[in-house]
């Protein structure tokens, strides 16, 4: 085997197709950089200790069932739930839920998973999957480039074979070429990952939504594995081309070169039966779905469903060439009145070579699907926050009682009445699996009455939405609290966030979880009730109004304001934005990668279509028209990818939102946004059109005289 010749051939090829080689290295490097940066940030996020965001001191632990003086251990406490009519609820909406896995008589002795961890794990999973997508787009670029390399050099290879070279040696040259590109790209990606990760960490971005602090931790082992994988993927890209070289028919390849443009009988075939595959697969899945729901865990089901939708879409893309042709034809027709020449040339070429477009389109569609899905998730999360904030935050102003002051009840009542506000006295909140808080019934019942709700009496309980979601509680269920002396049943009279929340320093999920009892309960009278009034919240009697500054000022001798609800709402929304910055980073990099992929693929086409462009020039096509032609091709690429992304992205979004709704304790709701979809589609079109700019310039520089030379 002549390794020296193989090295020489590889080197010459890389030099000759410099731009394509650079695009490939860039593809590998960007993919590797994203994954490596995310691995570092993720490792750092999970290693670093959690920094809480509020600065107030945590509240003291209170034992709700024993007098505060008592030091007795909590040996007989038992809290459980009783379903209304003893009917146990099953999973809702056909999706698996945490509820299904929770013991329906859950007690404090068998608590569920640590609160809040599911959200962080879900986010970590999503971040890692998203970064893998960037990596995959890089891999697609390498695979596509190697295919081109073999096609464009087939004559050269065949001439070498005619001169006595071995096929194995030709394959070796390709292998060396890819190895060089893969190694260089991986190395550059790794080098770029460190400053990128550092910048992300310094900006307070993490994969868990928590703010990491401390030093710079690096997962060396994982990085090495990913680097090895990156080079391996690059090498795997040679497998297909190597097979092509082994099968290459020298006589065919060395025939005089006509302008055929890869159009042949196969381009016109419509594979009727292949149209059946996607609907059949979809139908089969729908039939199996209920069984999968019961067999698989929530995470397994989510992953399975996501992968299934993805594979189904890509398989559909591959099988349903007619669909792709139809979509392209649609855009060709739409563009025809505006740019008849460009629409005809670009549209027709894309339709007849649609199977070759699959790689590019799949890459771009994947990227924008992810963007769409992520928008669905963030929109849903923000919607949830917004809804909760409207109930629990916006109307309220939060106060803490001044330790030194004694309340004059008459004066206090006058202030409340004069300012037309409700004032709710709250107790300390008991931490733990069953967070309990008391509210003064005299304060809250007028409000409940005004809302048309039943009053909160000593024998009843109100439950926050998050608490209800954790244990699948519904209106009419009962909370059973049992000690060594008696068993108390508290019917749930309302599941609401409209009252009982107090802005404290704790995890988001914990803050939103509480059982709200009134004063006067014998269970709490000796302990928790003694803290009643330590906290206070006010809300105006008229919905939509803000508590006046005068009310805050007049309450100052007794209570000091700690937070304003509307300010807290803004803070919450900013926090969500910050938590999702990591996705913005991944998506920005992936969009760049998609652009590199499109540039690369169009550039490859420009090289192989030099003769066609030259013929067009001899027929009078101007440079501007040539540029427009390629921009239109890029634009149609973007439009088709946007349409696919619209379907795939929203399907993924709906699945993710349903998963989050079941897996986490928040109430997520999938809402299709026409505006977001249009923006993402526009972004896809602009990205692909901009990506076509450079190839368009290259096409303009092609010498017609040289390209039209016979051989």
């Amino acid at each position: 085997m002549n390794a020296r010749l193989a090295v020489h051939m590889a080197w010459r090829s890389l030099r000759h197709h410099r731009t394509v080689a650079i695009a490939t290295v860039l593809g590998v490097a960007l993919g590797m950089a994203v994954v490596a940066a995310i691995l570092i940030v993720d490792y750092h996020s999970t290693q670093a200790r959690i920094q809480t965001r509020l600065t107030e001191n945590p509240l003291p632990m209170i034992d709700p069932l024993f007098p505060s003086e008592s030091k007795a251990p909590l040996h007989i406490l038992h809290v459980s739930f009783e379903r209304a009519g003893q009917v146990l609820p099953g999973p809702q909406g056909g999706f698996p839920s945490q509820e299904g896995q929770v013991n329906h008589d859950l007690s404090a002795e068998s608590p569920p998973t640590r609160r809040g961890e599911e959200d962080y794990q879900a986010m970590r999973l999503a971040v890692r999957l998203a970064s893998l997508l960037a990596f995959s787009v890089g891999a697609v670029i390498v695979f596509y480039t190697m295919r081109f390399s073999v096609t464009s050099r087939s004559r050269e290879f065949c001439l070498l074979l005619c001169l006595g070279e071995r096929r194995a040696n030709v394959v070796l040259s390709l292998l060396l070429e890819t190895l060089a590109l893969g190694l260089l790209g991986t190395l550059l990606g790794l080098l770029a990952a460190f400053p990128a990760a550092l910048a992300l960490i310094r900006s307070g971005i993490s994969t868990t939504g928590r703010v990491p602090v401390g030093g710079f931790a690096v997962p060396w082992a994982e990085l090495l594995v990913m680097a090895g994988l990156s080079v391996l993927i690059a090498l795997l890209a040679v497998a297909g081309p190597a097979r092509a070289i082994v099968k290459m028919n020298i006589v065919d390849v060395l025939q005089p070169r006509f302008l055929t443009g890869d159009v042949n009988e196969g381009s016109l075939k419509i594979r009727g039966f292949s149209l059946l595959f996607p609907p059949l697969l979809a139908a089969a899945y729908l039939a199996l779905r209920p069984f999968l729901l019961s067999w698989l865990s929530v995470v397994q089901f989510f992953l399975f469903e996501s992968v299934y939708v993805l594979v189904l879409t890509l398989a559909g893309l591959w099988w349903m060439t007619p669909l792709l042709r139809g979509l392209i034809g649609l855009f060709e027709t739409a563009l025809k009145p505006l740019l008849p020449l460009e629409a005809l040339l670009a549209g027709r070429r894309m339709r007849l070579t649609s199977q070759k477009l699959v790689f590019t389109l799949a890459g771009v569609a994947l990227v924008f699907s992810l963007l769409t899905a992520l928008h669905d998730i963030t929109r849903s999360l923000k919607h949830e926050i917004q809804r909760w904030s409207e109930d629990a935050l916006s109307p309220y102003t939060f106060f803490k009682k001044n330790e030194w002051s004694a309340i004059n009840p008459d004066l206090f009542s006058k202030i409340v009445a004069a300012n037309n506000i409700y004032f709710f006295r709250l107790s300390d909140k008991v931490r733990g699996e069953f967070p309990i808080r008391l509210i003064a019934s005299a304060d809250v019942n007028p409000f409940l009455q005004a809302q048309g709700k039943p009053p909160l009496l000593p024998g009843t309980v109100m439950v926050s939405h998050t608490m209800a979601a954790r244990f699948g509680l519904k209106l009419g269920d009962s909370v059973i609290v049992e000690n060594d002396r008696a068993k108390y049943r508290f019917p749930v009279i309302d599941v609401t966030d409209k009252v009982g929340f107090f802005a404290e320093d704790d995890q988001y999920v914990d803050l939103k979880s509480y059982l709200l009892f009134s004063d006067g309960n014998p269970l709490f009278v000796d302990n928790l009730e003694k803290t009643l009034g330590r906290f206070g919240i006010i809300r105006p009697k008229q919905d939509g109004e803000s508590p006046s500054r005068q009310a805050v000022a007049e309450l100052k001798p007794f209570y000091t304001m700690t937070k304003e609800g509307h300010a807290l709402k803004r803070w919450q929304q900013a926090e969500i934005d910050r938590d999702f910055l990591i996705f913005d980073f991944i998506l920005a990099m992936t969009i760049v990668l998609a652009a590199v992929g499109v540039t690369n693929s169009i550039l490859i086409q420009v090289h192989t279509r030099g003769r066609e462009f030259s013929v067009l020039r001899t027929l009078g096509v101007s440079r501007l028209q040539t540029m427009r032609l390629l921009l239109v091709e890029g634009g149609i690429n973007g439009l088709v990818a946007a349409l696919l992304a619209l379907f795939l992205g929203n399907a993924m979004g709906a699945i993710s939102v349903s998963f989050l709704d079941r897996f986490t304790l928040f109430e997520y709701e999938f809402v299709f946004s026409v505006r977001d979809s249009l923006w993402i589609s526009l972004l896809a079109v602009v990205t692909c059109s901009v990506a076509a700019l450079y190839p368009a310039f290259v096409a303009n520089r092609i010498s017609s005289a040289e390209s039209l030379h016979y051989e």
Binding site: F258, L259, T260, G261, L344, S614, T618, L619, V621, A705
Partner: protein, 244 residues
């Protein structure tokens, strides 16, 4: 109609300057068929490329229908190719993704001309070259000769003043070659287009009104043929004399 005066063109190969055309002068009249013959590397294709403006001459002038072509202007070169020159290639160079009809209609589309008139012109041309029945086929479904006939129809679409043909019969069998020559000659004459054709074949060169023998970048000699297809002896004699 076409007047070329002192046309020069050289290429740079590394540090060497290789002259291809050395002060070439030539004239072609309206409806006249002129054939260029010459050895490989004598500058035949370069001459056609320079005339059509896909390559730029270093020196000399080209005037078409009394107007001197300004090769420095990209816009004028494009205009020239759109409206005044039609090209026929050895390898046909049809756009593979367009049907026969669309290929012939392409010059109109490039100029932004639409409507019934160009459609009728396309149909007439296709009938004229005998390809009317294949109008909806794609190029790969045609034989080499048929592709060349479509290519001729495309070149004539805009009624160009000058038709440039670079070995139009070089890639088809002799029988088809004769048909192509027949159609090329008759349609060019009917359209009153000047025809400048490059060929290596004396049989096809014999169709010309005049044959120019190109050697070392110049017209070494001319032969008035007057379209006498059977008079091959003078052509062979010239080729032998000039060692072409």
């Amino acid at each position: 109609m076409l007047r070329i005066q002192s046309l020069s063109k050289s290429y740079r190969l590394g540090s060497n300057e290789v002259p291809v055309l050395r002060g070439l002068s030539l004239e072609v009249g309206a409806g006249e068929m002129v054939v260029i013959m010459g050895p490989s590397g004598s500058g035949k294709t370069t001459l056609l490329n320079c005339i059509s403006g896909i390559d730029l001459p270093d020196d000399g002038t080209v005037s078409l229908q009394g107007h001197v072509v300004d090769y420095q202007s990209e816009a004028e070169r494009t205009r020239l190719r759109r409206h005044q020159i039609g090209m026929v290639f050895q390898f046909f160079n049809l756009i593979p993704t367009l049907t026969v009809r669309e290929n012939v209609a392409l010059p109109f589309l490039i100029c932004g001309i639409r409507g019934k008139q160009p459609a009728r012109r396309v149909q007439d041309l296709l009938e004229e070259v005998g390809m009317g029945h294949r109008s909806e086929h794609l190029p790969f479904q045609l034989s080499g000769g048929e592709m060349q006939l479509v290519s001729i129809a495309r070149a004539l679409a805009q009624r160009p003043a000058l038709l440039l043909a670079d070995e139009p019969t070089g890639n088809v069998n002799p029988h088809i070659g004769r048909s192509i020559m027949e159609i090329l000659r008759s349609t060019a004459r009917r359209e009153n287009s000047g025809l400048l054709m490059v060929t290596h074949s004396p049989e096809h060169a014999a169709w010309a009104d005049r044959i120019c023998f190109l050697k070392d970048g110049r017209i070494a000699c001319e032969l008035l043929q007057h379209g006498q297809r059977d008079a091959l002896a003078p052509i062979h004699e010239k080729l032998l004399t000039l060692e072409i």
